[in-house]
Point group: C2
């Protein structure tokens, strides 16, 4: 698909310049410096020579074939230059110049026009307002980019919307002494998209792990399809930007709004099997481990250390990162007691002591590789000047190369002095970390990825007992009436259509009818004034709780009639639910191009003060509905706590799925809140609900 983009035979730089501090000059120099194997053709009508290469007045004058052309010229010349590229038979054009969509409507029009010209010739456009691509393959060495890092060949491929962030990843992976395979940062993404690049990386055999950075999606659906497909083949590590607590904070007033800025991005990652990071360093350091080591089958880690303090720090960090440190088998302990120093620790963490030698390390490694209940190995290796560290490193490398279980190493040394030892460990593909904490986080990333990969999301369940047509009609009625917020009766009717249990309810046109309706639902009841004029019902006296008999209902209704006037006033009567249940909340919020985000949480303090909620993207599968419930911190309250009875979790999970089906069937719903749903030991009932369209 993008073979000629990443493996071009010839590259032209339209706008190449002799000016050192110009993008066209930098790209030309980069191609030369990185020793690109194809033809480099600077295009500049006013120069004969640029960076020691012959320059051509037009791309049409280039003698050789050109697969990729850079454009580093004022935006207004882009369509014309594209036309020339077409005539030359160029396959891919990387527009580095800015001045397009990002500067406003005029630029957007220019961008559109440029793409149209390209389409006529079958040219694919990369950018504009972007860096470009890099292919480290020694046979190609294509540095079609104005960045400054010159990476070694390797197995990590990077795709980043923001060039600044992409450059940080590339540079830091390079600083780690790890190689890279492909780099791509496509800025405005007017044509070639990140999902397409992802797919290309997915098909590339030499790409073992993908690093992804996005700030938003033009087409979330396209992204999800590609991500799911590629994530099934190899690990994708990703970060999202724009994560701030402000999102959750501002939404304290209503639950739908709790879906924070950028949260849906994280939910997309989770749903498609992408491992999400919140820290660039952690992601780069983890990429190194993913590129070099196998993925563990579980999260039980064995430690080897040659120094006390760092082992304590490592234990803290591993436990806090969610990794388990199980005790060793008796057999393992016995072997270690025989083979290590008498003062060494033969338990997990295994302390071979500062004076531990190669044989000791090998014994510890062999034991951990053989222990069935150990999934991965963490090593603390400080290089004592009084130990033959190269021999130790050789044993580690030998075990690592068997790729039986992943190894990460907190390597505490002065690298410029311990070059031999470092080289042996690197050659053994052991990822090396300066700090115990980072090594622990990387270990956790490996185990988390294993869990993510092993999740069986399953398919969403379709409940057959729903009346979609009726619900659609009610929604349409609301829309036709120009409503933003459906009336209580409409909301509960829709819930009824989807089998979402609610406390029994009636509507009534006047006080007398309200009292009658209450007789039908049974007492006690809640009475609400149902009129669009009344915005804050409770504050304005439009709600009467816990009415015990018909007389009280009638009196309360008459009071409301007096207050709000009879015109347009309807009453909503609902059975008042008994105490002893637990308040829960389910919310939904439309995500443009995506479906809806669903939210689950416990009501009251838990959601409002502690923000203890979980989210998922529709359509929600049974697995995901259960996961939503389990992943709130206070979920134990639902299982019964301190002698309390538990609640009907199964029913809650079913309601989440029914809500998922509801909003998927009715995409016109902007927001929906079931707040609260009171959950009992044997059922759950919505007792207040809102739908915004």
């Amino acid at each position: 698909m993008f073979d000629k983009l990443f493996n071009p035979k010839g590259v032209a730089i339209i706008g190449a310049s002799q000016k050192t501090l110009s993008i066209g000059n930098v790209i030309t120099k980069n191609l030369i410096k990185y020793e690109y194997k194809g033809g480099i053709y600077p295009i500049n009508p006013k120069a004969d020579e640029i960076c020691g290469l012959k320059a051509y007045p037009s791309i049409l004058d280039v003698p050789g074939s050109v697969d990729v052309a850079h454009m580093s010229i004022p935006a207004k010349f882009a369509p014309m230059a594209m036309d020339e590229c077409g005539k030359k038979g160029v396959q891919f054009v990387i527009i580095n110049s800015a001045g397009f969509k990002e500067v406003g409507p005029e630029g957007a029009a220019l961008e559109k026009k440029t793409v149209e010209v390209a389409k006529n010739y079958g040219i694919r456009v990369f950018g504009p307002n972007c860096q470009g691509i890099i292919n480290t393959d020694p046979e190609v060495k294509a540095y079609c980019d104005f960045t400054f890092t010159f990476p070694e060949p390797g197995y990590i491929s990077i795709v980043a919307q923001s060039g600044g962030v992409g450059a940080v990843f590339m540079q830091n992976i390079h600083d780690l002494g790890v190689g890279m395979r492909f780099y791509a940062s496509n800025g405005n993404a007017c044509d070639i998209s990140i999902p397409e690049i992802l797919r290309y990386y997915g098909d590339d055999e030499k790409t073992r792990v993908i690093i992804l950075y996005v700030e938003g999606f033009n087409n979330p659906k396209e992204f999800m399809d590609a991500a799911r497909e590629v994530a099934a083949k190899k690990p994708i590590l990703a970060m999202r930007a724009g994560r701030t607590k402000e999102g959750a904070k501002a939404a304290a007033s209503h639950t739908g709004g709790m879906v924070g800025v950028g949260l849906s991005t994280e939910l997309i990652f989770k749903k498609t099997g992408i491992l999400t990071f919140q820290d660039q360093e952690e992601m780069c350091q983890s990429a190194m481990a993913f590129a070099e080591q196998p993925v563990p089958k579980g999260k039980r880690v064995g430690l080897i250390t040659d120094t006390g303090g760092p082992a304590i720090i490592a234990t803290d960090a591993l436990v806090e990162a969610g990794v388990e440190i199980p005790p060793l088998s008796d057999k393992a302990v016995k072997i270690l007691e025989e083979k290590l120093y008498p003062e060494a620790s033969a338990h997990n963490p295994i302390d071979v002591l500062a004076t531990g030698n190669a044989g000791h390390y090998r014994a510890a490694l062999d034991v951990l590789m053989d222990e069935e209940h150990i999934d991965a190995v963490y090593i603390n290796f400080v290089t004592p000047p009084f130990v033959d560290c190269e021999s130790v490193a050789k044993e580690m490398a030998a075990v690592s190369k068997k790729r039986k279980k992943p190894i990460v190493c907190n390597y505490m040394t002065d690298k410029p002095q311990w070059t031999g030892t470092t080289a042996i460990l690197k050659d053994g593909n052991i990822p090396l970390y300066d700090y115990a904490e980072m090594a622990a986080k990387v270990m956790a990333a490996l185990t988390n990825y294993n869990e993510l990969r092993s999740r069986e999301l399953g398919e969403p369940k379709t409940f057959p007992d729903v009346d979609k047509a009726k619900a659609e009609k009610i929604l349409q009625n609301g829309k036709d009436a120009g409503k933003k917020m459906l009336s209580a009766a409409q909301v509960y009717e829709i819930l009824g259509c989807y089998g979402i249990p609610a406390a029994d309810w009636r509507t009534a046109g006047d006080a007398a009818a309200a009292a009658e309706a209450a007789e039908e639902t049974g007492f006690p009841v809640v009475l609400k004034a149902d009129s669009e004029k009344i915005v804050h019902k409770s504050d304005e006296g439009g709600v009467a709780l816990n009415l015990a008999d018909a007389a009280s209902v009638k009196a309360a209704a008459e009071e409301m009639e007096k207050k709000f006037g009879k015109e347009g006033l309807q009453f909503f009567i609902q059975k008042f639910m008994p105490g002893g249940g637990k308040e829960t909340i389910i919310g939904a919020k439309a995500e443009p191009g995506l479906g809806h985000t669903l939210m689950f949480g416990l009501g009251g303090v838990y959601v409002e003060l502690l923000k203890d909620v979980s989210f998922a993207l529709t359509p929600v599968t049974p697995f995901e509905s259960e996961e939503m419930i389990s992943s709130i911190k206070t979920h134990k309250l639902l299982e019964g706590f301190r002698g309390d009875k538990g609640v009907d979790r199964k029913k809650l999970a079913e309601i989440i799925q029914r809500v998922s089906q509801l909003v998927t069937d009715l995409p016109g719903i902007e927001e929906m809140d079931l707040n609260p749903i009171i959950a009992y030991e044997d059922g759950a009932f919505a007792v207040d609900a809102r739908i915004m369209i």
Copy 2:
């Protein structure tokens, strides 16, 4: 005090060896390699020459004066060698060898004996089982240590109990290209202690910031006194080990036990003004900023960036680290709009664009330095190959050197290429970070330190209305009776002595008396069987709640008499407190050598499930008691939430202080739980309490 330890005129190595992989050999080589300015005297009866230096059979044969002698010999020879050191007039002996206290009683005896010999001669002993010291002063260059890092001179001094961790700090600070002043790792600390070393660093003018690592305290009081004194002079950054969630977890059953492993260390740090870290890298990176930049006066940060994505990441990271990013003044925006590119952002974060030049950066820096409501400056600097980065760096360095407000910089570059730019920034004392997140954490460390330093803890209040003598007598009675757990009556009497409000209570010897007592407290009441034989009162039927009249009290008491037998059975009758209050918990736990840890939290789910509690060390000042209340996540519940009434916070703070005075006066108390204390709008009452002695 330790001048001759850190600035020795001559160093002898007892146990110097020709064997390359031996500690005595490594120390000798280190002194030579680091170009120590004094005399180096290898001591070895069997060699004439070691590492090219003349070796002496005994320290007594050394011609020059020896201030510091290393011992790297089997432990059993230490007393004899110490005697020779005394005769030679050595001032400090660093015992590198292991085989002392850490291996058991025999080693401990040897350690004691060695110190005794040293004391006779007025020798101070460093170690044993330790690394040693380093002084980077170009006039001294004392490398009395077997570590492997060769640091440049600088302003950071390190003191670490664990040599392994100390070496990590030293190496990583060196890797950051930052200098060090002193290093000390004293292992078993048989004589020279960490508090003494801290004090020495505190008095050293060239030490600007201290890095500290401890795993425990021989004498917490001595440490606290020294730490308070030194922290008042310069920043101390510290880490503690053995932090795990297991502590909090295991303590779910009773509140006193919630004080986690190592928690008291963190409380000591906080109380004495030491900035605590949980991550080695964060601490090392922060030390660089503390060594090079001033401390900000507040936490309002202005950002400058030349690239979009990293600015989003920086904003997220700063906000999440608790830093504020306020808008700029109109005046500032106007200046920036005039001086920057038209497409640049003149707001906070200020985006000078990738093409931003030196003048643009300078304008942005000047504006932020002039803004009164900006306390510190954060820069994102990616080095575009098409910009004159050295000129940009020169402006940054010039502004930094004025030391008006601290600057930290996320420096995104390939350092081996941008050597000129890097050198200019380094020379300008600008701390450089590879990642936005780390730069943000360091910025937060600077602002947190400012807050820590500005806290006015005040003095603990002594309540005059207490009856210490009576409380002591009750405790003594309990002790004399061989009790572990005081009886309810004893507990409430002690509370009474310290003015800690409790629900009205009585004791009674039989059922009839219990009913009478209940008439006195008023109904409803709680009735408890008060007998040491009954361990789990509630489970065994020894508690009757909410008894409404005398008859019910009598019946319940008779039931208990039947169940437990009359012998030794007492009744405890207490007024049952009305609903509407909030359950809170105050706990105390003795910390050997320290006083007590106090705990505060909300009762029930909040403490048991969410572990939402705060801690402080006694004696607790009014400021600290308030801080304990404010620092739980759910403290808003106490202030009134969702229409709820608030509770009497002042009273709760007073009770915390009274408990502090109580356990300080009565150090024999092992654990004390007031669980719950029910807090109302106008008061708070303990309704269940336990004291363990």
